[in-house]
Symmetry: C2
Subunit: 236 residues, 2 copies
């Protein structure tokens, strides 16, 4: 079965967490919203089509008769079905727990540039963004990355502790990648405190299972999504 | 086995979503942070104790040798183990997906009074809170509640569609309860648009499985947590 992944074209966004798992797992999928000639209406029409379990928002995955929404929920399904998570219940719940913690930080990273309203322009909430970004840089980045650092038992470790990566390692990689894009000065300052997190980022960058994807041109660059490069929101 | 639920004393908070499932499911649990004489240090010390899978933040549930964090993850575990979720994989993923959508709205409800920093006083972010709360009242409440309304097939329906409630119905009840506390004027205005959501709230209020809990005095009142009653943040 080939899955249909539905997400906005043009930004990595939350869809990228699912995409990385599909790509690294060698799992066949299509993205019809990114077909040649497709525009936003393709996704909007599909969202509005009648289905048993309508998603609240993209990304969602159509798997045969099932439609699955919420990034962490899609990954929970893929992880168990395709061996991208530990086999034990305890291990799968642990990976899900960490994925939800990553999701919390992703939401906070988004709100650094849109602290008042996701549907208004950044320019209309710049002052509030400056205040929120300062708190994010100084309090939240150390708190979240410090947590993940403590979970990693050395520079060769994966989050679930086994010999092979799980989907949450790919997600932590992408989170760090986004933070490096959005907050390069701050990340340079804190790097020395989180060597295992940064080492994990390097190891996923070099993961054999992802090289075809990385060189395909399909991995979308950061820009207008969750992670944005507003220089005024970054500081050492 | 008696579970240990760990959460801050004094506020319903995210712990209440877990508590409602435990109570309605008739599942034995303790809350050692709410024992007579316990203060905050009891929870802080437990958080800092060495464990295989340390939580990022409360609530967390200790189930024998397992420690489970993240509200939706705890409910995923309890739902499957204690029959508080559908039996099919598709049904369990659907309930998890909806729980995560509720979690998204809960985070946004919190940020109406703390849009800049969770660790600063409300008084230091009142202006930003007023702006964010307006967007929440006018755009986000209709969007989220409209979504849940469309999922409910009439005033007797449960979210997963079966004849019996699942844990996500309890969570939607608590979300609506919190919104009624924090935004009474706005909720009075929108009530007519979401009759099935409000009917579900009424039915959970009257659920036989929860009456002992509701009359026990153990259900903490809203106040200083996620849902707060700042009159200046509400409007019709």
């Amino acid at each position: 079965m080939t899955y249909d992944l539905w997400y906005w074209d043009g930004i990595p966004g939350r869809g990228e967490f699912v995409r990385l798992a599909l790509e690294a797992g060698g799992i066949p999928y299509r993205e019809r919203a990114r077909d040649p000639g497709a525009d936003e209406s393709v996704l909007i029409n599909d969202m509005q089509s009648a289905r048993k379990h309508p998603p609240f928002a993209p990304p969602y995955l159509v798997a045969g008769k099932m439609t699955l929404g919420q990034t962490a929920n899609i990954l929970l399904f893929l992880g168990e079905k395709h061996g991208l998570a530990p086999e034990s219940l305890e291990g799968r719940l642990w990976v899900n727990q960490l994925q939800l913690t990553i999701a919390d930080m992703v939401a906070e990273a988004h709100d650094t540039h849109h602290p008042i309203s996701a549907s208004d322009y950044y320019e209309d909430q710049k002052e509030e963004a400056a205040r929120r970004a300062k708190v994010f840089r100084e309090e939240r980045i150390p708190k979240f990355l410090g947590y993940f650092e403590r979970l990693l038992d050395g520079p060769q470790a994966w989050l679930a502790g086994g010999a092979k990566w799980t989907y949450v390692d790919l997600s932590l990689y992408h989170l760090v990648d986004g933070l490096l894009f959005a907050f390069p000065k701050r990340m340079a300052t804190v790097a020395a405190h989180f060597p295992n997190v940064f080492a994990l980022h390097e190891r996923v960058t070099a993961l054999p299972e992802l090289q075809a994807y990385f060189s395909s041109g399909r991995r979308l660059p950061f820009g207008e999504g969750i992670f944005r490069q507003y220089r005024e929101l970054d500081a050492a």
